[in-house]
């Protein structure tokens, strides 16, 4: 199979014009041309690290600070979900758990897997990995739903002394975590997924692949 790189061509990612591989900038749209983003994985890992760091306080600190006349109550993400479950709202608790715990963690895992799989050969078919990447990138924005809920609640329930809901420090951390995770996913160059196929199909070119690393 002949790839563009093998053919000595490089495609502009913005306007899809194909240029010879030596071209550095697209003459049509002026964007930079790169056959492979060689710093992609580095960026991926960096953003992923920040995202993970933000995710830890997002789960430790309270997400919501509920102040009533007599008391102030802090609830973390998981604590709030468990409380909801005790309160009988199992469906809502599941939604929160899925949106705020399962999906972010799954994103971390997926990105890390993708980044790793580019460097090491894995059994999974490149097609399914490409699909996984698309899903991660698509679903990333929906992780903000938790932050939106907190924002809406905070603006709705502001009865001064009687009752007030304020966003806790975890909401900011969670928002940062989501943002960084999305950046991490965007930093990934999906073309890297396919490079190994060539290496697998053509063991002779393995050396070349090694040099790219």
């Amino acid at each position: 199979m002949l790839t563009a790189r093998d053919a000595g061509l490089v495609a502009c990612t913005r306007c899809t014009r194909v240029w010879p591989i030596g071209q550095t900038h697209c003459d049509r749209c002026g964007s930079r041309l790169e056959s492979r983003d060689d710093k992609s994985l580095s960026r991926v890992w960096a953003w992923l690290a920040v995202g993970l760091m933000c995710y830890i306080p997002a789960n430790l600190y309270p997400m919501l600070v509920t102040k009533t006349l007599t008391s102030s109550y802090n609830s973390t993400i998981v604590g709030g979900a468990i409380e909801l479950m005790h309160g009988g709202a199992i469906v809502v608790a599941l939604v929160i758990l899925v949106a705020s715990v399962a999906i972010p963690i799954a994103k971390f895992v997926c990105i890390a897997y993708l980044a790793l799989s580019v460097r090491r050969g894995v059994r999974a078919a490149p097609g399914s990995r490409q699909k996984m990447y698309e899903i991660v990138e698509y679903i990333g924005r929906w992780s903000m739903i938790d932050v939106f809920v907190v924002a809406i609640l905070s603006s709705l329930v502001q009865l001064n002394v009687v009752a007030a809901i304020n966003p806790g420090p975890a909401s900011l951390a969670f928002a940062c975590s989501v943002i960084f995770t999305m950046l991490s996913a965007q930093a990934f160059d999906p073309r890297l997924i396919w490079d190994h196929i060539e290496a697998d199909e053509d063991p002779a070119s393995e050396g070349a692949a090694e040099t790219i690393r």
């Binding site: 093998d6 580095s42 960096a46 953003w47 006349l69």
Partner: protein, 800 residues
């Protein structure tokens, strides 16, 4: 791989780590630094964790409850756990590092909870914020202590205040709960909650007097309870005393020093607090705070009336008082299972007047010696009025030997002698037991059930609504009373009463008149007589046809007579008759009758004009009867009149026969007679008679209708008067009758004279005589009628 594609120039990847690393890595590095910085700061700024042990940590929550100092949060509870044996609660508090050095041995901690008691509301802020732990410590930093014992209540004296700490002791209930300690009404300290002293005989409480007032408390200061009020009634009148309204409500102790030159009190000094100021003042002289000797005495039998505070007298001298009274069952000691009463006698040794310092030990020795000499304790009546008892220590001459039992619990026991209680106590007890036997509980139960019923009744909606209904009713009544119609009632009533008064007066006058004139009796008798008269008239008239028959018979007999002479006689008779008829009297007869009728009519008119009597319905019906009678009389008169044509026929036939006789004179005479008769009959009076009669009847009818239509009683008198007048008129009219009868008599006499010409003995004459007698009798009957009418004019009206 085709050759057309140029080989890709692959550069060797020999780049430095900086080329391979993205700048993006700066972001996680920065985040890492920030996180580490935050964590280090948090750890570094964290204060020490101290543990406070509480008996009860109600409301304390980990992560929520604050530790406060002067109401500023200086720490937070991190954990609440138990001690090893779960006896107490350990509260772990993370202190602020700033205050940590101050939390040393001087620290006190207690849980502030909302409290509402007699001294006000405290800790109200904790209702909303939840409880918090209040800490207090002095202002000198020291070594931080990590384990503290928490107080159950707020300490009397916070660590940051100076003052005097003393202990107050009471035997009479002056101490109860914590209350302020006041000096001349100003709170300058506090008395804490009371506790029972270890020996169980008194009550103690810690008290503090805050600086700078602590110097007011001296060794000889006396304390008393300023709460409540006292009423004293004496020769100086009644007085009521209380310290202040606040102390009256919430209580409070107060103190004063009546002795000067006393050294200041020290921490831990024990003072006695009295219930009354007077007791406190009196205690000054007994130096109550000196050591006392406690003895016990076991009395048998009833000790009712003995109470704490009762005097203990030694040969009449008060040396102490009873401070305790307890029941005791101790078979080993007393040999039976009866309950015995242990009395604790607190003796003040300095009252005994012993030499030296008067310590309790010396006093006990002295008393022990006296007991060996026969000193015994016994109960005696202290007050006859109240039945209170006192304990007397006195020497009993023949007492069995005994010693002071120093081993007895709780205090050395002094032997006792039988009590000498005045009978009045028994009597009083009897009275009291009778009072006791009264069925007060049943009474109270009944009263309670009654109250319940009453409250149920009162609380029932019907009764509840009664006042409203009553008020509504009153409002209605007020509206009715206030209406103009009702307002006008009194006036109308007055007018009606006036009218009634006038009416009664009228009735009275009328009745007086009726009584005076005996109107009713007269009326009744008049009516009776009138009826009799009418009856008689009817009877009399009944005889008229027979009379006419007889006259007919006479005429026929006359006819049958040899008429020559007769005709002559008849002729003379006729001429006499003619003369008679032609005479002025006969001619005047109709006029008289007419006048009489006119009089009657006027009488009736008077009767009508006089009005009618409403209440005389029976009278009216009788009058109607009378009218009927009169009608019958008139009918009979008509019948009688019907006989007149027959008579005239007879006379005519007689005349005809006479005419047939060759008696021209007679004929002429008869003709003249006829003419005279004609003249008589056609005279105005005779013709107007029926009209007058009908007019009279019409009048009567009008009168009757008027009477039927009702009238006024007032006029009954007038009516009677009119009736009397009518009777007078009738009498006057009847007066005319004798004259007429005289005329008839004269006529008959003439006739008799004429007939006398006939054969006296003949039957004709006899018959004529009989006829004449009949006529005479009829005339007499008419006369009798006239008299009757004269006597009872009202009989004409009433038909009797």
């Amino acid at each position: 791989m085709t050759d057309s594609i140029p080989p890709v120039p692959v550069t060797t990847a020999r780049r430095s780590i900086w080329d391979r690393m993205s700048v993006v890595w700066l972001v996680p590095l920065a985040a890492l630094f920030i996180a580490l910085g935050v964590a280090w700061t948090a750890w570094h700024d964290r204060g020490p964790l101290i543990q406070i042990v509480f008996d009860d940590a109600a409301g304390v929550e980990a992560g929520q409850t604050d530790l406060r100092f002067r109401n500023v949060s200086v720490g937070k509870v991190e954990k609440v756990s138990f001690t090893e044996n779960l006896d107490q609660v350990i509260v772990n508090v993370r202190l602020d590092p700033d205050v940590a050095p101050y939390v040393d041995d001087s620290s006190q901690f207690w849980v502030v909870r909302p409290q509402v008691n007699s001294q006000g509301v405290s800790g109200l802020e904790t209702v909303l914020s939840g409880v918090f732990i209040e800490g207090t410590w002095d202002s000198t930093p020291g070594e931080t202590k990590y384990l503290h014992l928490g107080e159950s209540i707020a300490p009397l004296m916070p660590s940051n205040r100076q003052g005097l700490r003393i202990i107050l002791r009471s035997t009479d209930g002056a101490l109860t709960t914590s209350m302020p300690l006041m000096f001349k009404g100003v709170p300058i300290g506090r008395i804490g909650d009371a506790r029972v002293s270890p020996d169980g005989l008194s009550v103690e409480a810690d008290a503090v007097v805050f600086a700078p007032y602590d110097r007011l408390v001296r060794k000889d200061t006396v304390f008393w309870d300023a709460s409540g009020f006292s009423i004293s009634v004496g020769t100086g009148g009644a007085t009521i005393n209380f310290a202040s309204l606040a102390s009256l409500l919430i209580g409070g102790g107060t103190f004063d020093t009546f002795v000067s030159g006393s050294p200041p009190a020290e921490d831990g000094d024990i003072f006695r607090i009295f219930y009354y100021e007077a007791d406190a003042r009196a205690s000054l002289f007994s130096r109550n705070n000196a050591a006392t000797l406690n003895l016990s005495a076991v009395f048998e039998g009833n000790v009712a009336g003995l109470s704490a505070g009762a005097a203990v007298e030694l040969n009449g001298l008060r040396i102490g008082e009873v401070t305790g009274l307890d029941g005791l069952i101790d078979p080993e000691r007393f040999g039976n299972e009866d309950i015995h009463l242990i009395t604790v006698l607190t003796i003040e040794p300095n009252r005994l007047g012993l030499e030296g310092d008067g310590s309790p030990e010396k006093a006990q020795e002295y008393i022990a010696g006296m007991i060996e000499d026969g000193l015994r304790a016994r109960l005696a009546t202290g007050s006859i009025l109240t039945g209170g008892l006192k304990v007397q220590l006195l020497e009993v001459a023949d007492a069995p030997p005994a010693v002071l039992d120093t081993a007895a619990e709780p205090y050395p026991a002094i032997p006792t002698a039988p009590s000498e209680i005045t009978d009045i106590t028994a009597t009083a007890q009897g009275t009291l037991s009778r009072i006791n036997d009264l069925p007060i509980e049943e009474l109270l139960n009944s009263a309670i059930s009654f109250m319940d019923n009453a409250s149920m009744l009162v609380g029932s909606p019907e009764v509840q609504s009664v006042p409203k209904e009553v008020s509504g009713l009153i409002a209605d009544v007020r509206g009715v009373v206030g209406s103009e119609a009702v307002q006008a009632v009194p006036e109308q009533l007055t007018a009606v009463l006036g009218e009634i008064q006038g009416t009664v007066a009228d009735i009275r006058a009328m009745l007086t008149d009726i009584q005076a004139q005996d109107a009713v009796g007269r009326l009744l008798s008049t009516v009776d007589a009138l009826q009799v008269a009418a009856t008689n008239a009817g009877t009399a008239l009944d005889g008229v046809p027979a009379l006419i028959e007889r006259i007919n018979g006479i005429a026929s007999q006359v006819e049958a007579l040899p008429l020559n002479d007769l005709v002559t006689q008849a002729s003379s008779l006729l001429s006499s008759l003619d003369a008679l008829i032609a005479s002025e009297e006969v001619k005047a007869l109709p006029g008289n009758v007419s006048a009489s009728l006119e009089q009657l009519r006027s009488v009736l008119a008077d009767v009508q004009a006089g009005g009618v009597i409403d209440n005389a319905n029976a009278v009216l019906s009788s009058a109607r009867d009378a009218a009927d009678q009169i009608t019958a009389v008139a009918a009979q008169a008509n019948t009688a009149m019907e006989g007149v044509p027959a008579l005239i026929d007879q006379i005519t036939s007689l005349t005809t026969k006479a005419t047939e006789l060759p008696l021209t004179d007679l004929l002429d005479q008869a003709t003249a007679l006829m003419a005279s008769a004609d003249t008589f009959v056609s005279s105005d009076g005779m013709q107007t008679l029926p009209a007058d009669l009908s007019a009279a009847l019409a009048e009567l009818q009008g009168v009757l209708s008027d009477v039927r239509n009702g009238g006024v009683i007032d006029n009954a008198n007038n009516t009677l008067a009119s009736a009397a007048a009518a009777a007078d008129q009738i009498a006057a009219a009847a007066d005319q009758l004798p004259a007429m009868i005289d005329k008839v008599n004269a006529l008959l006499a003439s006739t008799e004279t004429a007939v006398a010409g006939f054969n006296d003995t003949s039957s004709v004459v006899r018959d004529a005589r009989d006829a004449m007698r009949e006529v005479t009798r009829a005339a007499e009957a008419v006369a009798q009628l006239a008299r009757t009418i004269e006597r009872n004019p009202n009989a004409l009206i009433f038909g009797r």
